[in-house]
């Protein structure tokens, strides 16, 4: 039979190696057959002295999923620990069928994984996995974000006391804020510690701030009112507006003034903000 053209060879090869089943499943798949109708694998690939043509294509087929698993393991190590090697590989197999890499970098391969998990039908502890994947994605994004200098003590001192209520605090680029329902931050800590971690149940969380300081990625657990306050600030509210919203939601009984001061001090010290602006002062 006539030799297939370059475009058909490449589409055939790709169809086979990304097939989620065995290489033989891939070779028999409609996607592969559509490219070279009526052709057998040996019409396209030569056997070697030691391997059949199918076995040779199988080398690429086998390496494909392994490479995807390895790439996602590096971005989602705690999720991999939670699901175990086989469970994680099953998830990746399904995921890359729905969201194959379309980028020159593998760094963004996992960008859709949390949303994929949210609808994955066979996943145990789906809610916990979803929160965990969102947290690990945030860590990955923060790792790669642009570097922006943090707010300096001089910039803070330049704001008159009377102006703080109307001031806005702007977070650094390498900052993400998540609302979480499960204690996934503690789970990440545990997977990095003694290795005998298990997800805790029933402990409802407010949120987690993920940020970078001196090129290291850090995480901060936030109570519900602290999360609400930081969320309002990050969305552009003035300090007065943000505090007002928190107090209106939880009441003064749940948030003391010293809590507010403590949170602000901690967030500024951690370098979460890059600038403070006051109406009319630029």
């Amino acid at each position: 039979m006539p030799r297939p053209a370059l475009d058909r060879v490449q589409r055939w090869m790709q169809a086979v190696i990304v097939h989620p089943g065995t290489v033989d499943d891939g070779l028999r798949s409609p996607a592969a057959a559509a490219e070279v109708p009526g052709a057998g694998v040996e019409d396209i690939v030569r056997p070697s002295a030691r391997l059949t043509a199918a076995q040779r294509v199988g080398i690429y087929h086998g390496m494909y999923l392994g490479r995807m698993v390895e790439a996602l393991e590096s971005d989602y190590p705690a999720l991999q620990r939670l699901l175990g090697a086989d469970g994680f590989a099953d998830l990746v197999r399904d995921y890359v069928q729905a969201h194959p890499s379309r980028s020159y970098t593998l760094n963004r391969l996992g960008d859709h994984l949390p949303e994929f998990i949210a609808t994955a039908p066979r996943l145990r502890r789906r809610g916990f996995c979803h929160d965990l994947a969102r947290l690990e994605r945030a860590m990955s994004h923060v790792f790669d974000e642009e570097e922006t200098p943090a707010l300096t003590p001089e910039a803070i001192a330049a704001v008159p006391a009377s102006a703080w209520e109307g001031a806005r605090l702007h977070p650094i680029a390498a900052f993400r804020l998540l609302a979480v329902r499960h204690p996934v931050n503690a789970y990440v800590d545990a997977t990095r510690g003694d290795g005998r971690s298990a997800p805790q149940r029933g402990q409802r969380q407010g949120g987690v701030a993920v940020y970078r300081r001196m090129y290291g990625v850090f995480r901060l657990d936030l109570s519900p009112p602290a999360h609400a306050l930081l969320e309002a600030l990050a969305a552009g509210a003035t300090i007065g507006e943000a505090v007002g919203r928190v107090l209106a939601r939880g009441g003064r009984a749940t948030v003391a003034a010293e809590d507010l001061f403590r949170w602000f001090r901690e967030w500024v010290a951690e370098g979460i903000f890059r600038a403070v602006t006051v109406e009319g002062r630029g």
Binding site: D7, Q10, A49, R50, I59, Y60, R102, Y104, A174
Partner: protein, 281 residues
């Protein structure tokens, strides 16, 4: 003695810049001739990797080596990728930019593997045109590496060595001759590795790669996970006799050892080069 037609320098013997060695390199500033950098790891990040690369490029010569150009693919060239690559090359003052003779995906998909070409006249024309386009965008001659491979296509009408040599001439590009890949593919496909080395146009070879591999009995996989085998060193010496001293890089990407172990393997290349040159008088 000799030298390549592009006037690109012999940088000596270098190693790949790997994340696990960042701390060692910044703290110790080891005596290394140059570093090769995996381009894609630094294209879309403003974090620590780029911060480290800036410091490395300040002290050492750097060469960019990519895996996603997909120069042989029938998909359109990714011009956004090439523009970012050009910017990174400028930022790091990269001595040259290399990638592989391969394709990495079609229909907008990237399988992130270095997939082999069918060695046909059609593929040669197609790839030649794309190398020219990529070189124009980068504003420098592209340098292409022979990838290791595990299949041969029935459609091929010429050996890989002829395809690569003709491509280099027709597209006016440089060659990164990976000696380990020649050895791996020679075993997998049953061709003569020495003849392949001899078929390379010596004046277009601007860099060598050396690495270890994993032998599975029926085939060899290019894993960059070990020391190079003696046969690869012999092929390297044979290549050096043809080209004279050419920038050489030792690759180690799996089971990466301590920096000094990896660097020691690279320094063996220096000894080979010196011996070959001394023997040549």
């Amino acid at each position: 003695m000799r030298g390549n037609r592009f006037g690109l320098p012999d940088l000596g013997v270098g190693v790949g810049l790997r994340t696990v060695h960042f701390g060692h390199i910044l703290a110790r500033q080891p005596e290394v001739d140059w570093f090769e950098v995996l381009s894609e790891n630094f294209l879309d990040t403003g974090g620590r990797p780029l911060h480290v690369l800036d410091q490395v490029a300040e002290r050492y010569p750097v060469v960019l080596h990519g895996v996603s150009l997909s120069i042989g693919s029938v998909d359109p060239l990714d011009r956004d990728y090439l523009r970012k690559l050009k910017a990174l090359a400028r930022r790091t003052r990269a001595r040259w930019v290399s990638d592989h003779l391969c394709w990495t995906g079609v229909r907008g998909r990237n399988v992130h593997d270095l997939l082999p070409m069918p060695y046909t006249e059609e593929a040669l024309r197609h790839t030649t045109e794309r190398v020219r386009q990529a070189s124009d965008i980068l504003e420098r001659p592209l340098v292409l590496e022979n990838a290791s491979s595990y299949v041969e296509f029935a459609a091929s009408t010429m050996p890989e060595s002829e395809f690569l040599a003709r491509l280099a001439r027709d597209a006016d590009c440089g060659l990164l001759l990976d000696v380990n890949n020649v050895y791996v593919s020679a075993f997998n496909h049953g061709f003569d590795a020495g003849a392949y080395i001899d078929a390379m146009p010596a004046d277009r070879v601007v860099q060598y790669h050396l690495a270890g591999h994993t032998h599975h009995g029926t085939h060899i996989v290019d894993t960059h996970s070990d020391h190079a085998v003696p046969e690869v060193w012999q092929l390297y010496a044979r290549a050096c006799r043809r080209t004279g001293p050419v920038s050489t890089l030792y690759e180690w990407d799996e089971n990466i050892p301590a920096f000094d172990v990896m660097h020691a393997e690279a320094l063996k290349a220096r000894a080979y080069r010196t011996h070959v040159m001394a023997a040549a008088g």
